[in-house]
Assembly symmetry: D2
Homo-oligomer: 272 residues x 4
């Protein structure tokens, strides 16, 4: 079981509407045993779920301090393949909703990286191994440098600047997968023992009928990741979006495994 | 009623899998009276529908000539508002599946245009009128120049190069809408009397509870547009995507209104 | 007469070589009555002048604090045209060294703005008036927002983000001039009563046989600008460049007019 | 001796002024034994030389066909180092006019490639060998694909698209050199036995007091390159620039060695 929590404080200076994406997702692989969302002051909250299954919290606050806190106990039961699949689902056999994850998106310009991707990864092994190779390459190519990128930084940007943070590692790996015909998408979540603690961004790729998780930063324990939301790229899963006037004054995120030790041999899991 | 048709010829030089998006969509506003899809040679076709309602045709062909032809008779019953809504749905009251259409996408970098959008359109009228103003501005800012852009051209690119084709007009209008907090998305379709005839790209914006159609190119009759597919931007609705080796050798698209004259006063319709 | 001064403090943590560009330039329009450059500690200084006439100070410092201070008394005698030239030098009659200032440069992608420039300014008046119109347009299009841009921001970037600082205003005006066939270049200098005080960046355009100064920010008094250096864009005239490890810990820049009041009617001067 | 020639035909549809850069340059390493420039019709030609030593031909033609032809016999006496210098000129000891060739330029965004350059080439050998390594890397990273890039393509663009033509190879090598503190610049010229024949673009780097030539495409014989012009990047040395209305209808370029066989062991020469 994983205990996750997040606390966000805002100073709101004009009526502001927020959409938060910070609740743990629900699936056959991720069961929520307990969860609690609190707003202070106690404004009315609208709970939504979009067609991807992402849970959204929508609220409006007038003026003054706003605190949102969330904590949950989550039970994970990831699918661990006995043998890692060594081939990808053929293009013509993908499910309808996988095709959009082959398209380039705001932060993952897979169209621009096609030649590089094929030259570098085209002749190698297919399936899970290919995506591992992509993630290794991203890990070697990028320095992890806090503050080196901002909200407009894309996969192609970090391809040449050679530095980024977790979202950039994920974007570049996603872009390379898509360029190779492997559907890939962005996942936001809680990562156990992340240092420094924060929301985490990683990715999953569609291989032989399932979505498998990968984290090119090597900062997380892959079978202890708690998914919050899934999207084309970071644009889809921001932990908070708002219209109005508000400043984030405090952010605290935590995730701890309570009673289990991760299996050190587990490097490939599917939770979607 | 609108008769639409498309014929595509490919020369396939190695086994190639295709996804086509060229069938007319189905909704309460768009009824298909007759339709016919033919492949020559008569390869097996997989019919899919994604969660947005887009219809996909998937097929694989070995080597040699391939012809896909589609024709349909479509009955449109667009919603025409008695009075054009003069306000937008509040951010906090959008349906869950509208939020992604506020996010920047591959070809619509709304994040980079926020200041310009607010300075230029922020003080003006809201609702349908605001999007009309955006489309007018796009129409005035861009020259329509066939061949001036390519598959990697974005809204921000044409913002400074000042030229583009229908997809670029749509992308820039979409980006400006999103920058202003108005959900906006890309629509591919058949446009009656389009000159020169081709697939058309336009956009729709979510206003006061409905998606309204707009065409910043002024090349189409808005209540005679036959929707094919809907997406974040052109990346989602390409008429053909394939993996393998194939060359498009011929493309013919047609759309004609059979028995109706368009209402010249209809400038605002919703068909979604 | 204008008194100018600059003081820069660095903390040097490994042997570092610096090139400084902060001395007032020398020309028939700008005479240096007195000047003094001091380094503390008193390292050896190499004085260079490049083929554009820019003065460079080159020095190497090992480790520890470094202070560079410069002050000068400068006499300006700008050329003020009796009548502002209303036509530009024909392309075929430019001096050889003006052609490079028609080429796009790192921060001034004039090639990408050609269509916009011609549509917007092509039909208007020529000569000084045309460049005034360009500067007015830049002033209206951009918000002056400290910190909104960084060392990689270009004219095209601020064209869509609509915000920048003095160097961005200059870059955009330069790019538009070049796009219209008017040679234009970047000037760094000291501006009297600049608020907040800092090095300033502005531009000059080649019109009817002379280089005329313009400042699209409207922050300076045009006939009291003290030129430091001239270049293609800000890349050529950085006040300091270095290799090694050093941090700028303090920067103070000042410029004051001593005994003259500027002529309020002087809006067009040439000092090159 | 090298025979070089170029013939350009234009169809001029409105009065057009041209600047041509196609004459062989003159230096102690490149002597012109004979040369002839012809214009048909015989319009007046202005001959210029800019401060870099580049020769320009300026002319204006009204309407109709225009043919420019140039041929020359050039004697080269490149400097061949007995031992390739294994260190670079220190930053603080560069000549004043070398500093601008450290600055980023329109097509060589060295600022954006600094981290990659240092990580990849920072620990290797210095001097000529380092630039050879850069050129080898560029040769391996880019596919030579005619038509894959256009006039707006930059070093960073091909860094991720992984394809380009000679100017792109040169731009990327220049950008990497500058990022490492090695002054580097673009050279246009005639290359013997270039296949297909065309104007060629390559680069030179400033090492231990001299400019050495490099060609990352491996398409030319380095000690038989005839220099036309030198610049920051391709923006400075276009073979033709014009204002007006003209279409290039024919271009023929040739270069042949007359009486010498190149020394197969010569891989490093300086001609500037």
């Amino acid at each position: 079981m994983i205990n996750v929590s997040a606390r966000l404080n805002y100073e709101v200076t004009a009526t502001t509407s927020f959409v938060f994406s910070l609740e743990a997702g629900v699936s056959e692989h991720q069961r929520i045993l307990r969860e609690r969302l609190r707003c202070d002051p106690d404004v009315e909250v609208r709970h939504l779920e979009d067609s991807t299954g992402n849970r959204l919290i929508v609220l409006t606050h007038d003026v003054g301090a706003l605190e949102i806190s969330y904590d949950a106990v989550v039970e994970l039961s990831p699918f661990v393949p006995r043998v890692e699949p060594d081939h990808e689902t053929a293009f013509a056999e993908l499910p309808a909703d996988a095709y959009p994850y082959l398209h380039p998106s705001r932060y993952c310009e897979s169209d621009l990286l096609a030649r590089f991707a094929w030259r570098t990864f085209g002749a190698g092994p297919a399936g899970v191994e290919r995506v591992h190779e992509i993630c290794e390459w991203v890990y070697g190519h990028l320095d992890y440098v806090a503050g080196s990128t901002d909200a407009s930084t894309t996969a192609v940007d970090v391809f040449h600047t050679a530095a980024g943070v977790c979202r950039d590692f994920a974007h570049l790996a996603i872009a390379l997968c898509r360029a190779l015909g492997v559907p890939a998408r962005y996942v936001s979540g809680y990562a156990v023992e992340l240092d420094p603690p924060d929301f985490h961004g990683f990715m999953e790729a569609y291989i032989d009928g399932r979505w498998y998780l990968f984290d090119a930063t090597r900062m997380s324990i892959i079978d202890q990741l708690v998914r919050i939301a899934t999207g084309r790229d970071a644009a889809d899963v921001a932990f908070a979006t708002f219209t109005g006037q508000a400043t984030l004054t405090y952010l605290e995120v935590a995730a701890t495994a309570t009673d289990e030790t991760p299996d050190p041999d587990t490097s490939t899991v599917s939770t979607a």
